[in-house]
Amino acid sequence: MNVRLRRLWGMIRKESLQILRDPSSISIAFVMPVMLLLLFGYGVSLDAKNIPLGIVIEQPDTAAQSLAGAFDRSEFFLPQRFAAIQEARQALAERRIDGILWLRNDFSGRLLSGGEAPMGVFVNGVDSNQANITKGYIQGTWLAWLQHFAAARGQTLDLPVSMEQRVWFNPALSSHLFLVPGLIAIIMTMIGSLLTAMVVAREWERGTMEALMVTPLHMGEMLIGKLIPYFVLGMGGMLLSVAMALFLFDVPLRGPVWLLMLCSALFMLVSLAIGLLISIVTRNQFLAGQVALVVSFLPSFLLSGFLFDIHSMPAWVQAVTYLVPARYFVAILQTLFLAGPVWPVVLLNAGAMLLMLLIFAVLVVKKSYKRLD
């Protein structure tokens, strides 16, 4: 073996031993993905289900009971009956319920005489997103019941436009189908940027970097020696996450596996380059950790479209998201998992990641020299 490869091998072996002995590296790469996936797969749900809804019926006649029954049967609601509107308002204030459906005593009479819709709806607007969903579901349930009610009486409901919905790619509209693939980007950011930044900064802090520098080792060999083990670690975390997504959460994978691996490898390299850059600039573990959190992890979480839809962000925030590499990877992941290989999406986003990789790689090489100043 030539001496360059020998030195590189020495670095890789050392780095791998350190990873294997450091419980925090292993847990970031393998325990944390499992925790995050379980949390987001089971715990966090952006779907509205079992919304606690208060129902107040002042005149319990057939029509009113039938409408309340429709809400009882709906999987979206968990209705509770209240005798008077004051009680229901109290419950809403105490957040025991998220909304109130108020059928006054003239409800049936006005409904049958074809007058105005005499139904009062209150929604807790503290969480505006949740409020919109609740409002929409109440409206949907009400319309469905109205049609049913009219049909039962031999009439057709006279609506100006009737809408027929088809939901594509995620017909059940279940949030974990898009959260779980997106999480893979978050997990890889953690390993690539946060872990790597801290581990390399540790070398500066403990003075071992100084000893490494006064050897025939070239800076390029040092960087590659660091990259390879963490690349393997990151891809291991990715494979674990993909396996959990497919087999535990039944997320479909509609694109080819090779394409997923290729794009993941590309994203991993971008993350590693950012991690290396942070550690070279900060040379301090605490600072490296903070910087990695703020510039890499938090943007991946908030601005990648993993959790929040980019199109509903203000224009300037949308502009910022173009700087977040996870944005491109999340787009690829959601496409490959849920829709299949939509080439324009994949190529455009992969191209953007490649560009970022080049920029960060140039910065890393420029910033790393065998000197302490």
Binding site: M11, D22, A211, T215
Partner: protein
């Protein structure tokens, strides 16, 4: 003559700060040549610029101006080539603590291009030389300080470099390991013809070098053999003793006597460095005292260093009396420690330690890093609960007794716990108010501290910008704001230059004279001489207790009639190893 292995030509290095006026000149116009095949000592206190010089020689820093040639290569333009041929051990060894001894060796063997077939022989040789052979499977982090240092050295020596650069390899290491490190270095020079540049803050190590570079505040004060230096003060060194005066009183008087550059307690006598050669008279030095004995002594490197520095700048303080109001109570043994024990998990940091300290005594805890000195201290101050045993300070256990008891003690922590962003006066006010001093009383004490510690010129300077010696003065003053009758000093002299160290001990002496009980830790063997009594600690246990004279008397042999404290320490350690082996056999 051979070509120099390392040559500095008019090298200047500046550390830029944001404000140009605050730029610090770390090395100022430094020029020297180092000839091959010898050990050159780079000697100077902390902040002298030793580490910067080492890093420049490895091409890790670029000088502001000047030229550096290493083994015929330009250190700036050919830094990669320089780094490929020299061996370097940075101050923190450059070891990976989570790798085993063998894995560290393997890594550096790969990085230094040591051919596979040569490795086994070189490993065996180095492990044998460093005594690490039985520990190759142990993680580097679990080695003692001395063993880590030796492993670091072994890693730097793997490919037998022509030039070996060692940055403070002996600091904080126990004397036995220190002696072994020197032996290894000398063996390399003899067998391999290696050239070595070694930096140290211990002045007594200068005498072990072939040649010395003396660095102080970024300037090269001189280059030459240790005897070149000490011959300059030939005929100016004397040992003085007198009947009817304690050595401490003697030192205080001699320090003020005309013609005296330096007066230092050494064993039972006081060592003098005079400004000029020639036997001083009793009338001049100590008028009014009979039975004064003045004997010429052989000069040492430290004497020469002090003589050089003291003629250079006269800005050092001359501490006189300490004006303190100590309510001396009658209890005789103010600190009692009985079978003290402290565990951290499986590790026993302090094991069965017992000693007593009498009022007005300077009591020392002497030992290498990791001997358990600081842990003992923290338990005494009530900062850490003991795992077993009994202790009392002024009749109280400070861990259970509260504020009232702490009023009696002053504590100066390792590394000076000061607020860098506060000025000298603000720091003093803060510590005064922390001890409950208010209004007029506070003003009085702050004025006292500024006056006594000669800080008047620095009242508005931020603590961070003070030199190490002044930081030490300030934290000393802060510990005395509430006039404690017991003072704890944890490694107070670590890293400060010899002048500031002398000044510190003079103040401590004055405090003891005023009736303050002082408990002090140090890893400088020679500082034990300043103590009235001391314990020597190693690996959490007390090896011996007694006066400095008693300690040294134990090490007296036919060959060594005047042993140093270091000899005594080494003798104790070896004694213990023997006892251990005997036990193992039995």
């Amino acid at each position: 003559m051979d070509n120099p292995v390392l040559a500095f030509h008019r090298v200047r290095q500046v550390f830029n700060s944001d404000d140009e006026d605050d730029d610090v000149c770390v090395l100022d116009d430094v020029s020297f040549d180092i000839i091959p095949g010898q050990v050159t000592g780079l000697i100077g206190p902390d902040g002298a610029g030793k580490t910067t010089l080492m890093r420049l020689a490895c091409g890790l820093l670029r000088p502001e101006s000047g030229a550096i040639r290493v083994l015929g290569l330009d250190a700036v333009a050919e830094s990669q080539a320089v780094q490929s041929v020299v061996g370097y051990m940075p101050q923190r060894f450059g070891l990976y603590e989570d790798l085993s001894v063998q894995e560290n060796l393997d890594l550096y063997a790969e990085l230094q291009n040591l051919p596979q077939k040569k490795r086994a022989a070189r490993y065996t040789e180095l492990m044998h030389m460093t005594g690490l052979a039985p520990f190759t499977a142990r993680l580097a982090g679990q080695l003692s300080g001395g063993m880590k240092q030796k492993l670091g050295l072994a890693c730097a020596l793997l490919r037998a470099p022509r030039l070996l650069l060692l940055d403070e390899p002996t600091v904080g290491v126990d004397p036995v390991s220190r002696r072994e490190l020197w032996a290894i270095v000398y063996r390399q020079v003899k067998e391999q013809g290696m050239s070595v540049l070694l930096s140290t803050a211990y002045l007594d190590e200068a005498e072990r070098c072939h040649e010395v570079l003396l660095l102080h505040r970024g300037k090269l004060l001189g280059q030459g053999s240790p005897t070149d230096f000490s011959s300059k003060v030939q005929g100016r060194i004397f040992q003085v003793s007198a009947a009817g005066a304690s050595r401490r009183q003697l030192q205080a008087r001699l320090g003020q006597a005309p013609g005296v550059l330096d007066a230092l307690v050494e064993g039972e006598t006081v060592r003098l460095v005079m400004a000029q050669a020639g036997q001083p008279t009793v009338e001049n030095l100590l008028p009014g005292l009979d039975e004064v004995f003045i004997q010429p002594a052989a000069p040492r490197f430290e004497d020469a260093f002090i003589a050089l520095l003291k003629t250079r700048h006269e800005d050092t303080a001359s501490p006189g009396k300490m004006d303190l109001h100590i309510d001396a109570r009658d209890d005789d043994e103010v600190i009692q420690v009985h079978k003290l024990l402290r565990r951290f998990g499986d590790f026993i940091a302090v094991n069965n330690v017992s000693f007593q300290v009498r009022r007005g005594e300077i009591f020392g805890l002497l030992g290498a890093n990791g001997a358990g000195k600081t842990t003992t201290f923290r338990m005494l101050c009530g900062l850490l609960p003991a795992s077993g045993g009994e202790l009392s300070v002024a009749g109280l256990d400070l861990h259970t007794a509260r504020a009232e008891a702490r009023r009696h003690i002053g504590y100066m922590a390792q590394k000076f716990s000061l607020y860098g962003d506060l000025s000298v006066t603000q720091n003093l006010r803060f510590f005064a108010s922390a001890y409950g001093l208010r209004n007029h009383r506070q003003d009085e004490r702050v004025a006292w501290a500024i006056d006594t510690f000669e800080l008047a010129d620095y009242g508005e300077t931020n603590a961070r910008d003070l030199s190490l010696g002044f930081k030490q003065r300030l934290s000393f003053a802060a510990a005395l704001m509430h006039e404690p009758d017991i003072l704890f000093l944890d490694e107070p002299t670590s890293g400060v230059d010899p002048l500031a160290r002398r000044e510190f001990w003079a103040r401590t002496n004055a405090l003891a004279e005023a009736g303050v009980t002082v408990l002090v830790t140090t890893h400088f063997m020679e500082e034990a001489n300043y103590c009235d009594r001391l314990v020597i600690m190693a690996e959490g246990t007390v090896l011996a207790e007694g006066t400095p004279g008693e300690m040294k008397a134990r090490a007296r042999t036919v060959d060594n009639s005047d042993p140093t404290m270091e000899d005594a320490f080494i003798q104790l350690i070896e004694q213990r190893e023997q006892d251990k082996n005997m036990e193992a056999v039995a």
